[in-house]
Symmetry: C2
Subunit: 344 residues, 2 copies
Amino acid sequence: MQASPRRQPTLDEVAARAGVSRTAASRAINNNPHVSQAKRDAVQRAVDELGYVPNPTARALVTRRVGAVVLAVSSDEPTLFADPFFAEVTVGVSSFLEQTDLELILLLAHTPHGRDRLQRILSARRADGLMLMAVRGDDPLGQLAERTDMPVVFGGLPLHSTPRWYVDPDNRGGGRLAAEHLLRSGRRRIAMITGQVDLHACVARELGFREALTLAGAPLVALEVGDFTLPGGEAAMERLLTAHPDIDAVFAAGDNMALGALRALRRHGRGVPHDVALVGFDDLAGAPYAAPSLTTVHQPVRALGREMARMLVDAIDGQDPNPLILPTHLTVRDSAPEHRADQA
Amino acid sequence: MQASPRRQPTLDEVAARAGVSRTAASRAINNNPHVSQAKRDAVQRAVDELGYVPNPTARALVTRRVGAVVLAVSSDEPTLFADPFFAEVTVGVSSFLEQTDLELILLLAHTPHGRDRLQRILSARRADGLMLMAVRGDDPLGQLAERTDMPVVFGGLPLHSTPRWYVDPDNRGGGRLAAEHLLRSGRRRIAMITGQVDLHACVARELGFREALTLAGAPLVALEVGDFTLPGGEAAMERLLTAHPDIDAVFAAGDNMALGALRALRRHGRGVPHDVALVGFDDLAGAPYAAPSLTTVHQPVRALGREMARMLVDAIDGQDPNPLILPTHLTVRDSAPEHRADQA
DNA sequence: TGGAAATATGGAAGCGCTTCCAGTTTCCGG
DNA sequence: CCGGAAACTGGAAGCGCTTCCATATTTCCA
């Protein structure tokens, strides 16, 4: 390995030094079988001596493989990505890609201009594949993704269609778990705080939640809409408490909203879980640290990212991986214990 | 704009259609002055009709500009990036890059293999510039970054050297603010929870904190080491309470650690702020939602990312931007109010 | 009105790599 | 010792774009 030479050595120089043709050098470097061991060794030596590193751009030009994938998060508020949820997904994606030689291009498209950029990236084939997170019902990204011939993996289903490749947590099942748990612990005046209503995840969580309530013959006393943020959850809880002061349980479709709700409950002097039991969704890192610690539906966020990446890589390799639903489970903590008596 | 043609049109086809040479077409597209308006228009028309999008790879091959920058976060635990802090920085970076036509390559280098990848990216010039976050004292990335001839912007100073380009919050000043606040509110038995000791940010925060204590003639009763995580802060607080049950104030060098500490304090029945006042650092989104809400040193995290990106772009453009220290300020909330009496 | 200066133009040479294709060599069984 | 299969080898043709350079064309002022 040389100490940063002024100019990167090229394949030609490697070939010359190794005393082989450029073709042979290229083959040796790419493990193409049509080279003798002798040349292979000679090339290897030359590579080491020169500190040669193939120019990915030149390679991409001819192979038509860029060696990069895009993870796009579309939202109106730039803040969305700051949600630990996305960070965790990103970690998952990245941890899988680390095993490949694909790079991760992160695209936070929160303006029309940002979406244009994604559009351009797609039409210019600046990436080999695309992961799309949490597409809203009216998001043009959905159709945009359908039109490209680049493999696209959805993280979370879009609202109105079922794409070929997606990874989705079992939102419906998770919603059901939350309801069953609250019912089991004796709650009957149950409300819910959902997220953006045009997000499949919210619809599914609500659906599952309602399902279980209906099965038990319990009503959903009220439904308020938040936006997956702490202040959003807080405001929704405020509205809930104003309109229905007698509720004894709340299911928030996201931990952040649950944490926001917790604050509103605290301010209103409602004891959690004594007066009101609270269940979140996500099981983010902060959930055990809330006061009281948050009972929540756990979804494997990092695995979600990892599997999205794996699926995309498979798709790029010309396979046709199966869509994936990841299991959720309930993590019981203090904000909604098994039995009401535990806390009363 | 065509409906996704089987093959992307090339510059040659645009030129042919516009009835000009390829050279002229290229110039028209790149706003090179050496083209007549007439040809410019003709080319524009052809571009529109064909839905032509320049091939960035081919362009990069000749211009030697890749059109991408790397944001690298190096750490042993893959979890680090999941810290809302980094997510927020990323949002800042991304929001600036959105105005340019640079792409953001995210590299979470938490294994030796990950660092190799970064190394390869640098030597293969797969990016035009590099942003490096929170480099630890012994991190090989530091030297690696010095050896490359690609512009490198540091987010947070490295421990032992002062790079040419960096953006750093005023950690020392922030530490000072925390100490002054605690002293002002009448605390005297003060401890600190720092992060990794080979991180410049921690050293600087501690330095500032100690400075202000010394100036007031107050001792630093104890110092425990955490790792910027919730459990890390919790454990550090446990140790603190065991060894020094009489402390009446704690400064945690990060909000996550402060939140962890809060839990330990709660478990030990210590009232916050009545028995122990708690000050964090960062002012993450969750700080106002803790119970009690967290007094903390605010640092402009998103601005940090934005300025890193701006600085890098300037550096890539051949300018020599000045390093930047961003101001911090104290956000007073309930965990450490102005006056002890407020809460007693 | 005559050129010098300014402006426009396109041919051709690459950027660094992969890969087709047409040979050349090597290896064996007959 | 021969012929064909199998294994190598390297020349050359691009991938799609920018840009140098030499050549037109126009402009403008003395």
